[in-house]
Amino acid sequence: MNDNGNVPTLSSRQMKLVIVGHVDHGKSTLVGRLLSDTGSLPEGKIDFIKDICERQGKVFEFAFLLDALEEEQDQGITIDTSQIFFKTRKRHYVIIDAPGHKEFLKNMVTGAANAESALLLIDAHEGVQEQSRRHGYILKLLGLNQVAVVVNKMDLVGYDAEVFSKIKSEYTAFLESIGVQAEDFIPVSAKLGTNIAKREDEMPWYKGPTVLEMLDRFEEKVPPSHLPFRMPVQDVYKFDERRIIAGRVESGRLKVGDRLTFSPSNKKGVVKTIEAWSVAEQPTEASASQSIGFTLDEQIFTERGEVATRVDELPIVSSTFDVNLFWMGKRHLEKGRTYTLKLTTQEVACEVVEFKKVIDASTLETLADQNFLAKNDVAELTLKTKRPVAFDLFGTSATTGRFVLVDEFDVCGGGIITTYTPSSKEDKLRDEVRFRDFNWVKSGVKAEERSYRNGHRAALILISGDSGVGKANLARHLEEKLFKLNFQSYLLDRRNVRLGVSVDITEGDPEFYDGETVRRFGEVTKLFLDAGHVVISTSNAFNQDQDGDIRLLAEPHPVIDIAITDQPQTSGAVDVTLSLPEAKNEVEAANKIYHYLKDQKILTGHNYSI
């Protein structure tokens, strides 16, 4: 709501509170009561609403204070989260009024995700209902652990202590099963104002706090400055001679002089300045929750999505991890479909690898053998991303361990990363790459300088397709085309690598099968990429594992996958698909790839400043 302009001295920080629970269990009424009993309403507001009720032929209810929208009053349900301000003697609050109607789960999530404490309402008359459980579960998933349960409408059950204690034990058992401990259970009548701001005589058996007393006991959430430093890069600005890396410190602290690593690219740099505009003194430190910008002592190419950390406190980098996820999408979450994962400022295509456990969030029942996730339900599952992402486990660092999933255009799921169980081979390879990158003897010529002279960034173009579809021909043609346009192109034939670098491995050796030849090919490619070339290569079949290994070895250089096939591509792992007839015309096919490279800003043209 609004207009409660008469809350005096709203200047101090507000505690963000969310009120959730089953539809019609009295959330809006409780909010209206809190406003009224703390003297937080503007003069004439209640009269104004009473007047509207009279005109519409309705009995006045506190809930109407909140239902500012016409449609809402017609349906008698709160559609959306709105913010209401009130204060107690101790501090200021902003209530995010979260609706309970099942259809509006995404609004409840929006409200609760932004809160630091929660009141969960249960109707004494109706008892624990579907949304009581679902909301409890989602509060847990959102990481909200300051929760008090308010048992409302005690007037309808004659203020019966037995009814209260039955609900209390039933819901406590539920919360325990999901690992949540409620701060307290409070029996109230929001409509009559019992145990909200003041105690009445109706429930002498209840000795606990009133709702307001409970609220004042909640602790303010402080930014996680005590955790390791994490700053996802939001953008890089060059409005003037400064090259400023901008972002929000998600956890920890930063000082001028700190040695940083950017993950997943493994680039390093030392913080030269922390920039700020219109401040008395230029800052030398920053801490969690601050939106900042810094410069490095040496210009490195970093971009949105990389996570800056101290060199000795690296995040996990992986493309496979286990999550707990709730789903709000209109269509099911399914295997075989590509979604966009948004985690800090990283955005990457991903797929569900395995549904480990699908749960009906209203009953906590496991839906056995269900290989999809329906709207409003929750699951434990394994995700695989197209490129590796940098993250922490939610339990270690909440702000860098949670993400959303986007289906087409819409944010449809929210999740937390619970465990990280990579395939051991991939993990080993990544460790190798890290060791290599950290100890790499750097050239005096920077990658940016090479790009500037060459007119392109270094990249690997992988053309895959069945034998006989014209891969080799296309690859040769593409190499020539780019070369004639003055680009540094080089066709790296796998056979040539095998003939020399991998001559010690022959078909039949275990190394032939466990990816050692792929690793060697990747390392050779890496050298050419470091030299600034556009490397072109071919392979007989697109193999996701091999492709992943090569990408890992080539990082941070881009790998462009070109598939020659008439099969529709669903996985989203391929950048350009050429049909068989298209590939036969190597001039047109090379042109198509050429334009794609230009669109992707890999070929930037000569004299282009990066």
Binding site: T9, D80, I244, A246, S278
Partner: protein, 268 residues
Amino acid sequence: MDHLDDLENQSIFILREAYKNFKNLAMLWSIGKDSTVMAWLARKAFFGYCPMPLVHIDTSYKIPSMIEYRDKMAKEWGLNLVVGQNKKALDEGMNHEMGRLVCCEALKTQGLQNVMEEKGYTGLILGIRRDEEGTRAKERYFSPRDKNFEWDFKDQPPELWDQFKTTFKEGTHIRIHPILHWTELNVWEYIQREKIPIIDLYFANEEGKRYRSLGCAPCTGAIDSKAKNVDEIVDELKNNTTTSERSGRAQDQEDTYAMQKLRAKGYM
């Protein structure tokens, strides 16, 4: 860090997300305190620069000193100012006597749509706040509008953990609200702390009247006040206020759902 730092940090984060995700963006500048604070926040976010144009919709009925202040600030702050006006409606004699809602829709909403079409903006940054009035309380930080500029407030995208809706079907445009979570008092406290130059219509004149919210001359009323400067306004808001901020804005009082009707059609 105090609560103003928290608010500032969140707004800067949102402005940077907006700038990164949408290239053809404009910021709406009403000349009032909120959008002026927002322009200031943009300069904080982008280290002294405001990389997006500022659009002012001139209804021609604005209080004259607003235009003076606008041009002066644009020059001082090096802003790229774009002025929009629905000349056709004005030529046809549109004014508030034809009905306040009709007038607002023609001169403000349509005026804005004209500029957006002409310049091809796909996103608009606005300085609305949740505590202003009920409909705005329901807004998201990133709020889509369809091709007819309509707001589907019943089916809004979820917003959690500062992951915003940044991908759209063609024809949709986005409204971004970086100071949605601020209150009127927060805005004044911030102006006080940062010493942001604000138009003097907000300060009480000789007759003891000041504007609390700025709009067109015929539809904006002054309130009784002794607050002659920013410090006194902060004190006034902390201690005395029992009426709402927009009580001087006549269009809000037209009918019970005036603001909702205006906003569903694309009003700011």
